[in-house]
């Protein structure tokens, strides 16, 4: 068979963000692949050093259009621990609510992208249609569908009225029924199975070797979730299950993500029912004493790590992030050889890459 190189990206119908993958194929089989990133590098870490602590909240929110709230949560947590600030309980609950709504819409987005990659346009349309329900809720809560600006250093900016609580609970119930439909579909649809079951398998050893995190790690049997293992915000007082699977293939990832969505709905309902009264934020000082701090957050794609160092001024001396996509990209390069070219789409879409996060 003749060998050729198929370029996927930087612009390609499969990719939602610029990323370049060069596939060496022999016939219909992939024999090698190279992943190149850096097309959306904006120098955000450097920009963070030129803005004040408060301004940076708005900046890190714009790193990514999907996990924007996870970024601000991690950043605020790091800065708050630098300042020795404790946020009010109500703020912690609202942070959880936004985090979980974001997880739901991110997972649905992923399901849609995967469905489109395997040519299942109907599921793509349904997933993105239902995702709108969540985006609407977030817009009503914060004023923004994607950039919510819900977090500020010291607490949150958005409040929830008792009427809103009732309304949200009602709509979450309706949404839960939709998710039951999706779960049944993933369980039973043969044509979905054919394109995802046993495809792009990642072993538990590989998860450890590449430090993979989040749903892909959990789908390979790695029982890790920061919400339970290192609770932040109000997670320690809420009940939820950590979902794992042991297939490690695209289908297991779909399973994990869908069941996590159902857990997230459960978390949202708990937050709304048990929402404590109190302030929304504690006042944060402008200047921060010299020191350094780290914060970890379970973003929709896995562990998001923030490091902030202060030199005593009103601007951070260094902000460093480590996003969950980075290990996924490394692992991807080694998953590609041996695949059918037709499965590459499912594997890349199944990896749930967030290039904007990885490039910053």
């Amino acid at each position: 068979m003749t060998e050729m190189t198929i370029p996927i990206g930087p612009q390609h119908p499969l990719l939602k963000e610029p990323l370049s993958i060069e596939l060496d194929v022999s016939g219909e089989r992939v024999v090698g692949g190279r992943v190149n990133i850096g097309y959306v590098h904006r120098g955000i870490e450097r920009l963070c050093q030129q803005r004040t602590y408060a301004q940076n909240t708005a900046l890190v929110e714009r790193i990514c259009g999907i996990c924007s709230h996870a970024h601000t949560t991690a950043y605020c947590q790091a800065v708050e621990s630098l300042m020795g600030l404790a946020i009010p309980e109500r703020a912690a609950y609202i942070r959880v609510l936004m985090c979980e709504l974001e997880r739901i819409h991110s997972h649905l987005l992923w399901l849609g992208v995967l469905a489109e990659a395997i040519g299942f346009t109907t599921i793509f349309m349904y997933a993105w249609r239902d995702r709108e329900m969540i985006l609407d809720m977030m817009e009503e809560l914060s004023g923004g569908r994607i950039a919510h600006a819900a977090n500020i250093v010291g607490g949150v900016r958005v409040d929830i009225s008792p009427e809103q609580v009732e309304l949200l609970l009602q709509r979450l119930r309706a949404f839960d029924e939709q998710m039951a439909f999706f779960r049944e579909l993933i369980d039973r649809d043969r044509s979905f199975h054919r394109r995802t079951l046993g495809i792009g398998r990642v072993s538990l050893d590989m998860v450890h070797a590449y430090s993979m995190v989040g749903p892909p790690a959990r789908a390979s049997g790695c029982d890790v979730d920061l919400r339970r293992d290192a609770p932040y915000a109000a997670y320690s007082s809420l009940a939820f299950d950590v979902i794992t699977a042991d297939g490690g293939d695209v289908w297991s990832r779909a399973q994990v993500r869908l069941q996590e969505t159902i857990q997230s709905v459960r978390l949202c309902q708990q937050v709304l029912q048990e929402l404590p009264e109190g302030d929304l934020a504690t006042r944060a000082p402008r200047r921060v004493a010299p020191g350094e701090a780290v914060a970890r957050v379970e973003s929709p794609r896995g562990e998001l790590f923030y490091y902030v160092r202060s030199d005593g001024s009103d601007r951070p001396a260094r902000v460093k992030m480590r996003t969950p996509t980075l290990p996924m990209l490394l692992a991807l390069q080694y998953t590609l050889p041996g695949l059918e070219t037709a499965d590459v789409a499912a594997v890349i879409a199944g990896a749930d890459l967030c290039i904007a996060c990885a490039d910053r």
Partner: protein, 310 residues
């Protein structure tokens, strides 16, 4: 006078003008229904025509390394073959030309566009085109045999290779569909493979190889390719209606046309429904379905047909 009527038949009804209008209409039905079932709004009725006109007006680029003559001739040849095939396929009670063996000629002419489609990708320098062409050819070998089998079974059953005679043989609602259901299913799935619709849209799998063989085509050539696919859909459905669903059931002139129209639309609705139900298959999965399932089923139906002797 006779020549004038003939010309009118070829150019207006049931020939070119009717076919193009009907093909555009079916394309709209397809797109609108799929959209509605997927929870979208869908295009207005004139969208397919507007798309076609827009494409015709757009700049026609021939990429470096593509033989210009071949890339211009292939879509024309594909469309010509499809239109020529339509001469023998009845529309309502009308058929332009009918003779013993026209079923074979029509099927042969209909298989040429698939080969042209493969060549169209093969001659471009784009890897997507080459890979898409490869897949188109592989797919051709998979669906063509079941489809030919499916179309041949009624001919064996009713002992005629003329489409019009086959329609007559089904007179009185003795549709071949009722006697030869397996043959119909095999032919229908073969047709879906030929039209490269979900779940067999492998040669132009967007998320894998862009637009496949048509990646490097634009403007008029792309418009011609699009129109060819729409015409193929119509002619394929017409053929199925004539061979399996009793054509116009020999009903009095205008009503006969309406009966035929209803059958065409019902088949299109069925095709659109299948479109929303499935994910795309891999080429090896398609080959498996074709050779392990459809061909044996078709052969079984053929053996039964010969045995019961029609």
């Amino acid at each position: 006078m006779d020549i004038a009527i003939r010309l009118l038949q070829v150019l207006v009804f049931p020939g070119t003008l009717y076919l193009v209008a009907m093909a555009l209409f079916l394309n709209w039905v397809d797109r609108k229904l799929v959209a509605l079932w997927q929870g979208r709004v869908g295009p207005p009725p004139f969208q397919p025509l507007a798309d076609l006109i827009k494409l015709l007006a757009k700049e026609d680029i021939t990429t470096k390394g593509t033989p210009a003559v071949a890339s211009a001739l292939l879509p024309i040849a594909a469309m010509t073959c499809t239109m020529t095939a339509s001469l023998f396929v009845p529309v309502g009670n009308d058929v332009i030309h009918s003779f013993q063996g026209d079923l074979i000629v029509a099927l042969f002419l209909l298989s040429f566009p698939s080969l042209a489609y493969f060549l169209a990708g093969w001659i471009t320098p784009s890897v997507y085109g080459v890979l898409g062409g490869n897949r188109a050819l592989l797919q051709y070998f998979t669906y063509e045999v079941p489809m030919l089998l499916g179309m041949a079974i009624p001919a064996v059953y009713s002992r005629s290779w003329s489409i019009m005679t086959l329609v007559d043989a089904q007179h009185g609602y003795h549709w071949h569909l009722f006697v030869l259901p397996i043959g119909f299913v095999v032919a229908l799935i073969g047709l879906i493979g030929k039209l490269e619709r979900v779940p067999f849209d492998i040669p132009h799998a967007k998320s894998e190889i862009g637009a496949g063989p048509l990646t490097e085509y634009s403007g008029r050539k792309l418009a011609l390719w699009r129109l060819t696919v729409m015409l193929q859909t119509l002619v394929g459905i017409n053929l199925l209606v004539a061979v399996y669903l009793g054509g116009a059931d020999r009903i009095w002139l205008q009503w006969g046309f309406l009966v035929y129209l209803a059958k065409v639309v019902v088949l299109m609705v069925g095709l659109a429904f299948i479109q929303v139900l499935y994910a795309r298959l891999r080429i090896d999965q398609m080959a498996e379905i074709g050779w392990r399932l459809l061909v044996p089923l078709g052969l079984l139906q053929m053996v039964v047909t010969i045995w019961i002797g029609g």
